[in-house]
């Protein structure tokens, strides 16, 4: 084609980025890679091929790590950790700064290598993946520098096992490695089997930065290696990947005491209101679902359009799709590159072929591992494609009529990772954003990320946040573990004494005293063996009823923080008024004389959380954008809690108060040994304006009731301060709906001291929702 021809047809031609330097780097390494353990590359072992999905060409041979390799990596990390933590934040900051700088210096090499291995467009690798990874190390260099001023008695977790996906290989590495290192942890990281190369280049960078040996270890291989890491002697597992694998990791780590964060799948809604800037909303979809070929956990893959503008919007969207350029990812003018692997391509094809609806696809897609950008309209929410994650460039769409309906459809999903809202009306946008079940909400924009802004999901999108102080916190733990809880057996006896009037203890469900469903009660004796009352034996159905009541008590979560504080102060007032009576009950049940102290501290604890009610709302984050990025603290929802056996009043109040102060509705299982405390507490709750369903109290066997709560799909989080044995069972069962769990693994806490009201209670009682609101008049 001559210049004159092009002058007439105005084609783009091709603008390929050279792969030469990246291929030369691979060749320099022998095109066969060992593992990076203890600061050295091992000799390659059994290997598998990593290929360029755009061409099918083999790029290099990668080692499949063995169990011995993983053990060696963990041992190296374990050996390096104490010193790495001990050198202090400012010293670690220097290393993180060096890593940031080295990433920047070799940015094009990283970008081209990423594109070769993953198939994503070079523009994205260059302008998004590498740029954000770089920013992540800078930000966390700062975190390390300031760590000692903000540590609040926390220390590093220790050795972190980190397993990352293939969609953003280096960026996910940065998200995992930077905060871990900042807080003094050492890591064993496994990149995804299809995309190991940038992690291996990063290992090279670690050497160049002079990072102490063993601080970063990289082991490659398939899912089997991931399983080895999960079961290895590590203190924390951080995983990003599919919900299916996340669930297995939850089960595998249950009861082990390993800290766990999961960043899993999504089916994120993208809501377009009729007053939106439609052209901008269409362009936003290019970033939402065609960015990285839709192989993005938070891809805006579910389009919800207000009915009145749907046809116009779809027409604009189809026209935009026809302009997308799909092809050679190394071409700088390509919008959508290759699908990461033929297996993934087959998965996408199969899902779309099984679906109905009206389909539009971008034309001119090359042969090979590519999939055309696809829009499927006229789907109802019941269609599988509206529910299942596709992880490809496929957008499915439906319509809605009102903001409420948009929210309802948006939230009608097992996932809860991200959501996007387009409206020019600030009232609509800022009303809808907090009501969406998602960890991240973008208003008039999409797929915005920054190291200072937490990212992560709720529901089956996982738990934990990455980025910001929330992300850092996941890489530290309290300096002290509490002493092991002592098992408390209920007193036994056979003597009875006449009571003036019989008192019947009941459950407290939905604001009413409820007889146990099973119709059984247990005799409660004092230390001398005298019968002091009967306590209902709760069962599955009592839990079911309590959860239903809690789910229904939406008003409590919607109440103002001031209002919640008032209720909690009133609770304190009423508790205090019955202090003598309560203390007597406690002492009688426990056979000790701490009752009066317990009541006094419980009153204080209520004051403490009443005070916190309106002071833990989140804050704004300094992200590189004109706009507001707010990390909002929202209630988790329905929290189930197993109260400690010891200190029947103080323990229960310490668990209940933070949960309700933050706006949660609760189902609390009282001390198994000393359950009669609920008798008086129920009356206090009833007289303190606590709305029906906000607090539900159940008594009975902890193990059985905890299991039901852990299995229950409508419970958002489950805490246990009970016996050690509960922890594993709760964590295992919680894998079902991937609810958050907070269990004691048998370690108690000093309920009378600061540990009884630590910041952790507030953290666990809230979800962080990051709301991005770019603006501009």
């Amino acid at each position: 084609m001559t210049v004159k021809d092009i002058f007439e047809n105005m084609d783009y031609g091709s603008a390929p980025e050279s792969a030469g330097d990246a291929l030369a780097w691979i060749t320099d390494q022998g095109a066969r890679f060992g593992l990076f353990i203890d600061g050295e590359f091992t000799a390659p072992g059994d290997t598998f091929e990593t290929t360029n999905p755009a061409t099918g060409e083999v790029l290099a041979d990668i080692t499949q790590a063995t169990a011995d390799d993983v053990a060696a990596a963990v041992a190296a990390a374990r050996a390096a950790q104490p010193e790495w933590e001990a050198i202090g934040g400012p010293a670690r900051a220097r290393f993180l700064y060096a890593l940031a700088r080295l990433l920047q210096k070799h940015s094009r090499l990283f970008a081209v290598l990423e594109t070769l291995d993953n198939g994503k467009p070079i523009r994205e690798a260059r302008d998004v993946d590498i740029a954000l990874a770089h920013r992540h190390f800078y930000y966390h260099a700062g975190c390390a520098q300031l760590e000692e001023t903000q540590a609040q008695g926390r220390v590093a977790q220790g050795v972190c096992g980190q397993i990352i996906p293939w969609n953003f290989p280096l960026l996910m590495l940065a998200w995992k490695v930077a905060p871990a290192l900042a807080m003094g942890n050492t890591v064993v990281l496994k990149p995804a089997e299809w995309t190991s190369l940038t992690a291996l280049l990063f290992a090279d960078i670690c050497r160049q930065a002079g990072l102490p040996k063993g601080v970063v270890n990289i082991v490659t291989g398939d899912g089997a290696v991931g399983e080895m890491i999960v079961t290895a002697d590590v203190d924390k597992i951080a995983f990003t990947g599919s919900t299916e694998v996340g669930r297995k990791i939850r089960q595998a780590t249950a009861g082990s005491g390993k800290s766990l964060t999961l960043e899993l799948g999504g089916k994120s809604p993208y809501i377009v209101f009729e007053d939106a800037d439609l052209d901008s909303a269409v362009e936003g979809l290019v970033d939402a679902i065609w960015f990285n070929g839709g192989q993005v956990c938070c891809a805006g893959s579910r389009l919800l359009v207000q009915e009145g503008i749907a046809d116009r919007f779809y027409a604009k969207l189809r026209a935009r799709m026809d302009k997308l350029r799909v092809g050679n990812p190394l071409d700088k003018s390509i919008d959508v590159g290759a699908i990461v692997h033929p297996e993934q391509l087959a998965r996408i094809r199969a899902m779309v072929e099984a679906s109905g609806g009206d389909m539009h696809q971008t034309a001119g897609v090359p042969e090979g591992c590519y999939y055309a950008p696809t829009l499927i309209t006229d789907l109802s929410n019941a269609d599988p494609l509206m529910q299942e994650e596709i992880f490809g460039p496929v957008l499915v769409a439906t319509t809605f009529r009102t903001p409420s309906e948009a929210i309802e459809i948006a939230n009608n999903t097992r996932y809860g990772l991200a959501a996007t809202v387009w409206s020019e009306n600030i009232n609509v946008a800022l009303d809808v954003a907090p009501r969406l079940a998602a960890g991240v909400v973008w208003v008039n924009g999409t797929n915005m990320f920054d190291a200072a802004a937490p990212f992560g999901g709720i529901r089956e999108s996982g738990f934990g946040r990455e980025g910001g102080p929330e992300g850092l916190r996941a890489y530290s733990k309290p300096a002290e573990k509490g002493p092991l809880v002592t098992e408390i057996a209920a007193f036994e006896g056979d003597s009875a004494e006449p009571q003036p009037v019989d008192r019947t203890a009941k459950h407290y469900i939905g604001g009413k005293q409820a007889r146990p469903d099973g119709g059984y009660a247990r005799n409660i004796y004092d230390a001398s063996g005298a019968l002091i009352g009967q306590s209902p034996i709760g069962n599955r159905k009592d839990i079911r009823n309590a959860v239903e009541a809690a789910r229904g008590a939406k008003g409590w979560s919607a109440a103002t923080a001031h209002n919640r504080a008032q209720v909690i102060y009133f609770l304190a007032e009423n508790l205090s008024a019955r202090a003598g009576e309560l203390a007597k009950t406690i002492d009688r049940m426990t056979g000790q004389d701490t009752g009066a102290d317990e009541v006094e501290v419980a009153v204080n604890r209520l004051f403490h959380y009443a005070a916190w009610s309106d002071k833990f709302a989140g804050d704004a984050r300094a992200v590189p954008m004109r706009g507001l990025a707010m990390a909002l603290r929202e209630p988790v929802g329905v929290i189930g809690a197993i109260a400690p056996n010891e200190f029947p009043l103080l323990g229960l109040v310490s668990v209940m108060a933070p949960a309700i102060a933050m706006g949660n509705r609760t189902v609390i299982v009282a001390s198994e040994a000393y359950p009669l405390i609920t008798q008086d507490l129920t009356q206090i709750l009833e007289t303190s304006d606590v709305p029906a369903g906000a607090v539900n109290l159940i008594t009975g066997p902890h193990a059985e009731l905890a299991a039901t709560l852990a299995d229950h799909a409508d419970v958002d989080a489950l805490w246990s301060f009970g016996a050690a044995a509960l922890a594993g069972d709760i964590e295992r069962r919680a894998a079902g709906n991937l609810k958050r769990t907070w269990v004691n693994h048998g370690h108690g806490r000093d309920w009378f001291g600061p540990d009884g009201q630590s910041r952790n209670f507030l953290e666990e009682a809230t979800e962080v929702k990051t709301v991005w609101v770019p603006y501009g008049a």
Binding site: M1, T2, V3, K4, D5, I6, F7, N9, M10, D11, Y12, G13, S14, A15, R123, R126, D127, D275, A276, D277, D279, S280, A281, E283, G284, A315, K323, K332, S333, D335, W422, E424, N444, G445, M625, R626, G627, P774, Y775, G776, A777
Partner: protein, 327 residues
């Protein structure tokens, strides 16, 4: 003279002329522009499209063919305008044009003040290059209305084939949409067969939403082109403003079937910027708009940078400004 016939033909002979529509205020009031999203699109576009080698040379030549080579200075003289017209006819050194196979390349038009129309018409006689005149009390547009209308008529009589009018910014700033429509209608009628480009002076309209609304109204009132700026505002053509205006053009075409042209003016001085603008047009409006009957650059210094880039393409060595004839 193939190129001349492509660049020199008046738009109406290629494309049915936009007759305008009734003022549709529902549509106008619906028009919105989300600034931050538009800025993001504008910021990422240059990184999304890259044009290299032969393609780059061809695209730059295309940019040259779309330039309204402009002089709008108080010290313009007949001699100065003649020099500009000579440059318009031979915008790039002949040996370079020969080398890229486009020996007949000219600019899109020459743009001058009213008093310079006659010498420009004379200097361009036979070249096929039209003369555009800025009008209606350019740049502020605050002279008596009847004089502004009369100025158009006199410029058309003097031989201007294209009239660049300025709208009354105050009608936009006060939301007096009917007045804006009526004004534009009157200007269009006064132009007769000459093409009318409506200068919105976007740097003075306050918001992108105003730009969107004003764009629509001018098209409804029969503008053949909408143009960003006079070149005299403190902020002239920008990519975000362009995005808003060309999306309005797209909506107008979708609704009426008439293609309205677009002219960014002021502030575009680099070859790379010109390519970005062309890519923006290609992406948002389509290839049909990449012709001088539907797209113009209002620019004076852009040509110099393009000449250097074309020489670089031809020789492989970086060029210098003194190697190219000044206007």
């Amino acid at each position: 003279m193939q190129t001349i016939s492509a660049t020199g033909t008046l738009p109406q002979t290629v494309e049915p002329r936009n007759p305008g529509t009734a003022l549709d205020l529902d549509w106008v009031m619906r028009a919105t522009a989300n600034r931050s999203a538009i800025e993001r699109r504008a910021a990422t576009l240059p990184a999304r499209r890259s044009v290299k080698k032969d393609h780059q040379a061809a695209w730059l030549a295309r940019a040259v063919s779309c330039i309204d080579l402009t002089t709008l200075a108080g010290d313009d003289t007949v001699g100065r305008v003649r020099r500009l017209c000579a440059k318009a006819k031979q915008p790039v050194r002949a040996d370079l044009l020969e080398a890229i196979g486009l020996p007949d390349l000219t600019v899109g038009a020459v743009c001058v003040y009213h008093d310079m129309i006659a010498p420009a018409v004379e200097a361009l006689d036979g070249s096929g290059i039209p003369v555009a005149a800025v009008s209606t009390g350019f740049p502020a547009g605050l002279s008596p209305f009847h004089l502004r209308v009369q100025e158009i008529k006199e410029s058309v009589a003097a031989g201007a084939a294209e009239i660049d009018i300025v709208i009354s910014r105050r009608h936009v700033l006060t939301g007096n949409w009917q007045a804006l429509y009526d004004e534009m209608r009157t200007f269009r009628d006064a132009c007769g067969d000459a093409h009318v480009k409506a200068i919105l002076a976007t740097g003075e309209l306050g918001t992108l939403s105003n730009v969107a609304k004003a764009s629509l109204i001018c098209m409804m009132a029969g503008a053949d082109f909408i143009k960003t700026s006079t070149g005299k505002e403190s902020v002239n053509a920008t990519l975000p403003v362009s995005l808003v205006m060309i999306r309005a053009i797209r909506d107008f075409y979708d609704a009426t079937g008439y293609r309205v042209g677009y002219k960014p003016a002021g502030g575009i001085s680099k070859a790379k910027d010109a390519i970005t603008y062309l890519a923006l047009i290609k992406e948002e409006l389509g290839d049909r708009w990449l012709r001088p009957d539907l797209f113009r650059f209002g620019a004076s210094s852009l040509l110099g940078d393009i000449e250097r880039q074309i020489e670089h393409h031809v020789t492989g060595a970086y060029s210098a400004s003194w190697r190219h004839a000044m206007a």
